[in-house]
């Protein structure tokens, strides 16, 4: 066993990486194909209000984050369903108001908030064992819901109006998806923090989407890619002694850029091959 694996916090970080990327592979896939990345950003920032409330009440901020995340997901969903406000208006309001509420709560709380930064920017190395159990339970829940409603989720993401005509309860499916997003936001806060949650949700699916046209394959490949890149980022942060959350995100972004170049090269190669083939046929 390599020396680094002897530390329990490293082992926990690895387990956490696998668990969150199981969740992100699924939820991120739907976020990317349904184009609701900004909703996820809004939910995660609104959740900061819950973190602040936790500090204020002196309880584990993750516990107070859960209801904030769920309620903001439902509220953004409801507000953007009507015609009065556009979806991005609803998102912006919750995004800022949640952050503001968090700041007020924290400034009202007595004393110094020592691990506030770990909620904003994440710290995968300090994850308590209890959180691993929460992550495992959520991963199981997300897998089950997706397996049960796979057809509905695909249809609503593809063409919501047609889905409604075929009898799919599209509002319920949309709400279910937003609830899954909000739960994944909560577990991701520990890893990369509120501000960067959106990157871990979208980048692995955005990378893999370029290479597959099948939702199931996209989910599985996003899980694998996300896990490898999270661990890779963690390794780099260990080597260079940098903040783990930020290093993971930068590594993800760098690989994303690289994947675009690879995709372009593959397309060129295929094109050349085809021209070569058709030239030979002539």
């Amino acid at each position: 066993m390599p020396e680094i694996l002897q530390y329990e916090f490293i082992r926990n970080a690895i387990i956490a990486s696998v668990l969150v990327n199981i969740i992100c592979g699924i939820v991120g896939t739907y976020i990317v194909i349904k184009k609701i990345a900004l909703i996820s950003g809004g939910i995660s920032h609104a959740t900061f209000g819950g973190i602040g409330l936790g500090y204020f009440l002196g309880i584990n901020p993750i516990l107070t984050a859960i209801p904030f995340s769920l309620v903001s997901a439902l509220a953004i969903g409801l507000l953007s369903r009507g015609k009065r406000f556009s979806r991005d208006t609803a998102i912006s309001i919750f995004w800022a108001a949640g952050m503001a509420l968090g700041i007020i709560f924290i400034s009202l709380s007595p004393g110094y908030a020592p691990d506030l930064f770990s909620y904003l920017f994440g710290n995968i190395l300090t994850i308590p064992v209890m959180d691993l159990y929460i992550m495992a339970a959520l991963a199981l829940l997300v897998i089950m819901l997706t397996a049960l409603f796979f057809r509905e989720l695909a249809a609503v993401s593809f063409d919501e109006e047609f889905a409604a005509v075929t009898g799919i309860p599209h509002n319920i499916i949309n709400t279910l998806l937003l609830l899954m997003v909000s739960l994944s936001v909560v577990v991701l806060i520990r890893i990369v923090g509120i501000i960067m949650v959106i990157a871990l949700l979208t980048i692995p699916a955005a990378i893999c989407r370029q290479f597959t046209y099948n939702i199931k394959k996209l989910i599985i490949s996003s899980m694998v890619t996300g896990t490898l890149l999270t661990l890779g980022g963690l390794w780099i942060s260990y080597l260079l002694d940098l903040a783990s959350g930020a290093t993971i995100i930068l590594f993800l972004a760098a690989v994303f850029m690289l994947s675009i170049i690879i995709k372009v090269l593959i397309s060129r190669l295929k094109k050349n091959n085809n021209t070569y083939k058709s030239a030979r046929m002539d």
């Binding site: 409603f149 057809r151 593809f158």
Partner: protein, 250 residues
Amino acid sequence: MKKIVELKDVYFSYDGVPVLSGINLDIEKKDIMAVIGPNGGGKTTLLKIILGLIKPAQGKVLVFGKRPEEGRKRIGYLPQNPDIDLGFPMSVYGTALMGRYKGPLRRYNNADREAVYEALELVGMKKMAGRHISMLSGGQLQRVLIARAIARKPELLLMDEPLSNIDAGTQKSVYELFLRLGKKMSVVFVTHDISAISSYVEKVACLNRKLYYHGPKEGSLGRLEGAYGCPIEMIAHGVPHRVLKSHTGD
């Protein structure tokens, strides 16, 4: 003829602006009907009311003798310029299969697969079943979406601007497709493009907030074609080339 859709005195408005007023419309079995009207005339709204996607402010809507939400199981629907992301991970086959949705927790079976291949065959897209939708032309995608609508073997096919993504060259073959479909089911489509009304259409209704019905009483356009000795592609509500009666009461 048996009525399959019945609208009686239907009113609808968006934010106080009337979109539909006093609409009466019957769709009968084996109808091939076109509803024409300007943009904003309420055509899409009319279809959505029949589909039960929106509720009329007033009036009665019966679809196969039931509420639209129940009756729409027997309708196939082709939305207007559907907001489909061509990069979406979905094949031609997968797209058409969505038309076969039966309900939660009910998997697709062999009958569904057969119905999808049959529908793709009918629109001439069976050979491309395995392709990703980003590889299709606008006209091919439209055919796939028609296949999705007819995969559930509907008794009525509602189409919203079915020719909008199709260039003039392929329009004829799409019309012939409508004609073939018309033998199996009632076909109703709405369009703002009056040149889309060809001799294939048997009944025409004009919609601009109010509906003016030009039923078979005025002779099917097919028969009119015989009378005029030319394909009728234009309907003149004005004087020069009157084919249909003028509207009264407006």
